[in-house]
């Protein structure tokens, strides 16, 4: 059983998931070594993962057999598990909780493909639909509070398996970084009567110098205070706090924008490692006027060094306006 520990000094939570590494020395071996032969995410290798939770699959095919397009399974080495109780494990000046939560893997395609950008738009749409369904399902467990959908592509972005996949962790607490964001957004709303992201969107669409792409319902844009070169965010134009409330009719358009954003990166940067993270409000109160879901895409071509780790302040050597310019050209090349 893993443990959620809180650093008394910073308030930062850490998941101590010692079961993930059988021996500390195992951390040193190259874990990015899968190819098609030993790929547990391949169609036909369904017994290489825990039993599936959800799949988009051909009618008439049975769970955990071939015939699927997108497949969700519990993480074999979960950081958090549904079993256990949320008893506080106080330890003098320190706080801790049992590692209760959810940790799922979304396998994005049955064939061996390493890059989400190369998946057909229909597949990306299925992946986005699966994210939505999992959030709708998981919020029924009252212990699960804060859903985090994320993707690690490439070893430099923390991926341990090459086959294109994403992950979903739901924590039983709201991480302080996310709570801080919600608090700031609420303060802004209390002060100005509007959602901060809605105001940001308005400003970006007026100045246009950081906008990469605008579609009927979404904006792809390099944020003003980008942490990384070529960082870009996808934001829905219409205000919504929870990703899972997205209308399924919008998913093909969102899939197209996400696919484009990833292909832009590939063309501009020669297949970089990257992460993406969904920002969606914690489960519980729906329809928050101050929170606005979005997707943050974080290329990992530059390292995270001591200054960043020590201060939370990032040094970015490419102006977001220049990043947007280059990404916009990539978009137009298509």
């Amino acid at each position: 059983m893993s443990e959620l520990r809180r650093d008394s000094l910073t308030g930062r939570w850490v998941i101590i998931a010692a079961e993930r590494a059988a021996r500390p020395q195992d951390l040193l071996t190259d874990i990015h070594r899968t190819d098609a032969a030993n790929d547990p995410f391949l169609e036909g290798h369904e017994d290489g993962t825990p039993p599936e939770i959800l799949a988009c699959r051909a009618e008439g095919t049975a769970p955990n057999t071939p015939g699927w397009r997108v497949r969700v399974v519990p993480n074999k080495f979960p950081a958090l598990k549904p079993e256990g109780s949320l008893t506080t494990l106080a330890n003098g000046v320190y706080d801790a909780l049992e590692g209760v939560g959810a940790h799922e893997v979304i396998i994005e395609c049955p064939q061996f493909e390493t890059n989400m950008s190369r998946l057909p738009v229909d597949t990306v749409r299925d992946v986005l639909w699966v994210y939505r369904q999992r959030l709708i399902d998981l919020q029924r467990d009252p212990r699960l509070i804060c859903p985090v959908i994320f993707k690690n592509q490439g070893a430099a972005a923390g991926a341990s398996l090459a086959h294109s996949h994403s992950q979903l962790i739901v924590t039983p607490i709201i991480p302080p970084a996310i709570q801080g964001e919600l608090d700031r957004a609420l303060q802004f709303h209390n002060r100005q009567g509007r959602c901060l992201v809605c105001v940001m969107l308005e400003q970006e669409l007026q100045s246009k110098n950081r906008v990469v792409l605008e579609t009927a319902n979404f904006v792809l844009c390099c944020p003003f205070a980008s942490r990384f070169p070529f960082e870009s965010w996808i934001m829905p134009k219409r205000h919504a706090s929870h990703y899972e409330t997205i209308s399924p009719e919008l998913l093909p358009e969102l899939a197209r924008v996400l696919g484009l954003a990833l292909r832009n990166l590939e063309w501009a940067l020669d297949d970089p490692a990257f992460n993406f993270v969904f920002r969606s409000a914690p489960f519980g109160e729906q329809g928050l006027a101050y929170a606005h879901w979005h997707i943050e895409i974080l290329p990992r071509i530059t390292g995270i060094a001591g200054f960043e780790l020590g201060t939370g302040t990032f040094i970015n050597s490419v102006a977001p306006e220049d990043s947007a310019n280059i990404l916009r050209k990539s978009t137009q090349r298509k």
Copy 2:
């Protein structure tokens, strides 16, 4: 001139230092390519750096010539510069400042040596003395507020030059992550009448299961909520908020503990990349009862992935108690 930009949503600051990369494509080249021949930090290559600010050097030798042991120079590609003014560059919903501050490089030895752990204890003492002197000097500039001493060793830790060196950045603002830590420490002090780190130290020295080494004046210990496998902190036993107030008599002992901590890592983990960061209270009010300076040593054998970037919550697959055990054995081998 670089720019300090604040993300409206998170409050996070970002330094946009576009001059550091002449062209975005330059980010993609391997920057970890120095060897002795083209090493600007080598004795005799003094013209490869901006003129020195401070050096420990043999009597009778002139600045910017050979004869030095430790040398401080301005960073050739600074994230922040002393020139400029702190005018707010407001931009609609966004805040920004001119990139005013300090960014110095501490060259830790005249010969080509990549690992601080292999420097003699006297050299490490000189480095620690130089840190102290630079903080004492820099705080006379009222625009400089928050000093951050840090080290990137190894490409995976963000180092761009292999020759052993550390850096000092002083920001004109207090990064929210550091302000948050100060606020929490003050709240604890208001509630309990004691310094939080002093209480943590007491608890660690009682339980001993995370202590790696205790000397007369310092404790080396894996923190309860370690972000990384084999993370360890050096804390002075006697309460002090500002590193620069350390008595020079303690520097040889601190150098011995720091050297040991780094050699422990090398022996346990086969020469890992790592960062260290000094936590020392912002310039200004001295002798704070609630803040306690310390050094955080962060091995970089596991990646920082999307979950960590998205939530500030780290997944650590080695329990700090196990890390301490292994590091303690390394210490005893000596």
